[in-house]
Symmetry: C2
Subunit: 179 residues, 2 copies
């Protein structure tokens, strides 16, 4: 599943410009399980428009640069549905955090401690943002799918935090013979 499919997916929730799609992928619900940069989003949208899966309408704005608002065509919606039903690949995970801690014995104890404390802070912030009602990004989405995925992510983050909390003793293991 490439960036084009991702764009179709985001657009299924309503029309948006390339810039808005990027923001969604950066701060919104999608950020927890996908990623893409401008350099891949803009060409993907242009291609999708050419293929007839989206239409892009130039929209002037007062005191802002013009933006090109894309929306799904009926063909685009069918295409998205088709792509979502294709066999899925396995989750791709690449965690430098876990790679480094796998070799905790090669690190100075304080460095190990700093890594874990930073991780705890990040997880707490993330959980707070996802739990706290209000203007949180994910609130924009309605329906069982987004709610299910939201709960899924939250369950994982909570489990990570709980685990780190239960492993506080790991912080204070004898220091390493560092470089």
């Amino acid at each position: 599943m490439d960036v084009a499919t991702l764009c179709l997916a985001v657009l299924a929730h309503g029309p948006a410009s390339g810039y808005e799609i990027k923001k969604e992928l950066e701060d919104g619900a999608y950020s927890h399980f996908f990623r893409a940069s401008f350099g891949s989003i803009y060409p993907a949208l242009a291609r999708l428009a050419q293929e007839g899966f989206v239409t892009g309408r130039e929209q002037e704005q007062a005191k802002r640069p013009d933006k090109k608002v894309y929306r799904l065509t009926p063909a685009g919606k069918r295409e998205l549905s088709r792509r979502l039903q294709a066999p899925i690949g396995p989750d791709y995970i690449r965690s430098e955090f876990l790679l480094v801690l796998f070799h905790a014995e090669l690190l100075p104890a304080r460095h190990r401690r700093a890594l874990i404390e930073e991780r705890i802070r990040q997880l707490q912030a993330c959980i707070a943002e996802m739990t706290g009602g209000g203007e949180a990004a994910c609130n924009r989405y309605e329906g069982s799918g987004p709610a299910f995925v939201h709960g899924y992510g939250l369950a994982i983050y909570k489990a990570e935090l709980d685990y780190l909390d239960s492993q506080r003793r790991f912080f204070d293991l004898p220091g390493a013979n560092a470089a």
Copy 2:
């Protein structure tokens, strides 16, 4: 952190050939948080040897192709330590599973159910393999680092399974108007 660093990391646990490193990344403990293919491992090892971070010794084998066993040099160990202490990037996650389920409403109910049941099966298998004592791959590693990471992964997988179990009602939501 690139494949070269990953190779240094694997070699820190003992000498290995390119083929063995790949196996480790595919079935071993590393498989849960990193990935690499032959096409990137072999050139990385050649480069590391050229830089003096590893030495490769050709080893003949009876009834098997020769293999080139690499081992970390003292400089290589220092280099690994140095690289592990560099600032780490955020976890990179790309889950087609979550992307598809985020759009559950666009899918036929049976497809949604099949995805989740498959996921449950995978998680159960994974947890069983990690929990069950015996010849499991991760048992090769000793020390607090590997144990910590093992526990971390297990905590996540268990949380995912628990969540899916708690959401069984999600399976039977009204079907979608599929393509």
